[in-house]
């Protein structure tokens, strides 16, 4: 059986770890190239979110490769997002082209539903112990990959040698992918911490401190977006991203309850996991007096579209600028660069004027 994830990045590594425990492996997904994106756009309903279009493009590319047995695995958490409900849509699109196509949910609110979901696909021979080990590796890798991404994003500011940061990040991700047990994951984490401690540190204060909130899926996977932000970090902007795939993967009611309380009146009762994390992080950044909020999300993502006005209210109440960037097939890269650059200019000029006033 060939398994398939949405992208080539960190989700891929984590899902592969889960499948390996169950005695399977993961096919390398097709790269998201311009032609893959075009195929996805042409196949998808125009209102499907950009991430969904990428998935469709990749599925089409898999069909082109001659793949006949594919499984689409979606949504690890209790999200109220259309991404979690694309299974039927995908089956309707690919059912005739690829008769063995199937779609399943993995994960769940607890080990019971997670086991049910795994058994629905892999059969009843999957034991509770196997399920727990599989998810332990999955979450272990998710956590460590998120930690590496968060640290490296900040390191692109803190360390004056971006080449070393890039090399460290690439090597750390490679080691995470090759780790086959919790002990080896722990060793990778220790190794990463030790190397970070040896990196040279920048002494000048940042031009601006920006808190990043938004769509975890697209931020976790689309390195092209983070690459652009890293260029800013190299110029002296401190970027802080506290989200990550683990936010969605590890969310359950018990974890969300304190965050909902923190967000208080900003949230309506019927909100999704993604919105709750974005708003809670935005409030944290505001409380810590960050210079600005950068909201990044996939165009068409319903939870983040709903989160946008809430985030704007949080930013307005806190008196800090916020900019939203929708990433998708309807936006030119030049425009994104313009906005990001102008936003940093704006934050820097505010920061400079405050210093003068003091």
């Amino acid at each position: 059986m060939r398994y398939f994830t949405f992208s080539w990045g960190k989700n891929y590594i984590a899902v592969r770890a889960l499948l390996r425990v169950l005695g399977h492996d993961l096919a390398t997904p097709p790269e998201i190239t311009a032609s893959v994106i075009e195929r996805g756009i042409s196949a998808a309903h125009p209102f499907l979110c950009f991430s969904g279009k990428l998935v469709l493009g990749q599925l089409q590319a898999q069909v082109d490769r001659g793949e006949q047995h594919m499984t689409f695995m979606s949504s690890l958490g209790p999200e109220a997002c259309r991404c979690a409900d694309t299974s039927e849509y995908l089956e309707s699109l690919f059912g005739t082209m690829c008769p063995a196509f199937s779609a399943h949910r993995i994960g769940g609110d607890g080990i019971g539903t997670a086991l049910d979901n795994l058994q629905s696909h892999f059969g009843p021979r999957i034991t509770r112990t196997q399920c727990m080990r599989a998810y332990a590796m999955f979450f272990g890798k998710v956590d460590l990959l998120d930690k590496i991404e968060r640290h490296c994003l900040a390191l692109f500011y803190h360390c004056p040698d971006p080449e070393r940061v890039r090399a460290l990040q690439a090597e750390a991700i490679r080691r995470v992918d090759h780790a086959h047990g919790m002990l080896s994951l722990w060793r990778v984490s220790r190794w990463f911490d030790r190397v970070v401690a040896t990196l040279p540190k920048r002494t000048s204060p940042p031009l601006a401190r920006i808190g990043i909130v938004g769509g975890e899926h697209i931020l976790s996977e689309l390195d092209s977006i983070l690459m652009r932000l890293k260029l800013l970090a190299e110029q002296g902007v401190l970027l802080d991203w506290r989200g990550g795939f683990r936010c969605l993967a590890r969310s359950n009611e018990a974890r969300l309850a304190p965050l909902k309380e923190q967000c208080g009146a900003y949230l309506s009762p019927d909100v999704s996991t993604s919105e709750i994390f974005s708003c809670a992080h935005a409030l944290d950044f505001a409380a810590e007096r960050y210079d600005g909020l950068l909201h990044i999300y996939a165009f068409g993502c319903m939870p983040q579209t709903a989160a946008k006005p809430i985030l704007q209210r949080i930013a307005k109440d806190a008196g800090i600028p916020m900019m939203s960037l929708a990433i998708g097939d309807r936006f030119a890269e030049e425009g994104l660069d313009n906005r990001v650059e102008a936003f940093v200019d704006l934050l820097h000029s505010r920061r400079t004027s405050r210093k003068v006033a003091v």
Binding site: W8, E31, I32, T33, A34, P162, E163, R166, L207, D223, S224, M227, R228, L231, Q235, G236, V237, P309, Q312, P321, A326, R330, F331, A332, E334, G335, D337, N338, R339, E341, A342, F343, V344, D345, L346, H348, S349, R350, S353
Partner: protein
């Protein structure tokens, strides 16, 4: 020539036009030029630099800034000291003209933006995405459809006594609507006035949505020359709209002021003769080194690569996008 005679040059090249401004030490504009690029950016810049060449030859150039969507290319061509996005450049330029301005409405050929200023500082902005419905392209299309010069639209709009409603949300729908209104026998001035109002409405519902628009409000960009648009914004906002005399070169002025604030000495700007004589071309390719597949553009002069843009990593040396001083 002495230091008191020093000048700063700003060049703003967008999708439709090339603007050049030369400022003296006090920020007064000694020379300026506005040219349509007609898709030939390098020739338009050479033409623009040549047009202000008299001032540049008689004054020491202390700095040069470029802005607009072609800013990297133009920066490499002229040897700019500062390459800066048009949002920041317009904020600098407008603050120079009207220090107490609180709202800048800027409408260019293919893009439109709103910049909120407070106490002389930009505090918020928004820019249209890929849809050009609220931009000058809409008016160009309208003029073409009606068979009149785009420059004549404003005066025509002011003659209207019964403007008609035009669906301005999309230029395609707008054109259909205009055809229908023409067939229905509406007068041309009423159609033009309706189109101006729909552009203003579309702009305010798109980039202006949720923004705290406060006076003084400046209308900038080439479209600001259209009196019909000015009136439409004034009516829609219920606020007086100011159109500075320099409305179409504010970005270029801002770029010059940014260069002045950097005060790099000596300026890296090339001489007029060197710019005019340069054999400058571009070369584009897709980098296949990783899955990002960046579209790389290299600027080549006399067979030598003098600049590269488009990469998302250090593999291809990129033109710096320094943060505003």
């Amino acid at each position: 020539m002495n230091a008191q005679d020093m000048v700063w040059v700003g060049i703003d090249v967008g999708s439709i036009s090339c603007k050049v401004a030369v400022l003296d030490r006090s920020g007064a504009c000694l020379a300026s030029v506005y040219r349509r690029t007609q898709g030939r950016v390098i020739e338009a810049v050479k033409d623009g630099v040549n047009a202000v060449g008299g001032v540049l030859r008689s004054h020491p150039v202390a700095g040069c800034g470029t802005t607009g969507s072609a800013r990297q290319l133009v920066g490499a061509l002229v040897g700019a000291d500062v390459v800066k996005n048009e949002i920041t450049a317009h904020a600098y330029g407008a603050r120079h003209l009207r220090p107490d301005a609180q709202t800048l409405l800027e409408i260019g050929g293919e893009d439109s933006k709103i910049i909120l200023m407070r106490d002389g500082l930009p505090v918020d902005f928004a820019m249209n995405t890929v849809c050009a419905a609220g931009t000058g392209a809409f008016l160009d299309q309208l003029a073409g459809r009606l068979g009149i010069a785009v420059e004549d639209l404003g005066a025509l709009a002011l003659q209207s006594s019964h403007e008609v409603a035009i669906a301005g949300r999309c230029t395609v729908f707008a054109e259909s609507d205009i055809i229908f209104k023409q067939q229905a026998g509406h007068r041309m001035e009423d159609i033009v006035a309706g189109a101006c109002r729909s552009l203003a409405r579309n702009y305010l519902n798109d980039v202006g949505k949720g923004k705290d628009i406060a006076p003084p409000v400046l209308l900038l960009g080439g479209v600001a020359a259209n009196a019909g648009i000015e009136r439409a914004f004034a009516d829609a906002l219920g606020l007086p709209i100011e159109v500075p005399r320099e409305h179409n070169i504010v970005g270029a002025m801002g770029a010059a002021l940014l260069a002045k604030s950097v005060s790099r000495s000596p300026s890296s700007m090339r001489t007029v003769e060197s710019i005019l004589a340069s054999d400058f071309t571009t070369r584009a390719f897709v980098c296949d080194h990783c899955s990002n597949h960046c579209e790389i553009v290299q600027f080549v002069e006399d067979g030598v690569t003098v600049g590269t843009v488009g990469g998302r990593c250090e593999r291809w040396a990129r033109t710096a996008t320094a943060v505003a001083p």
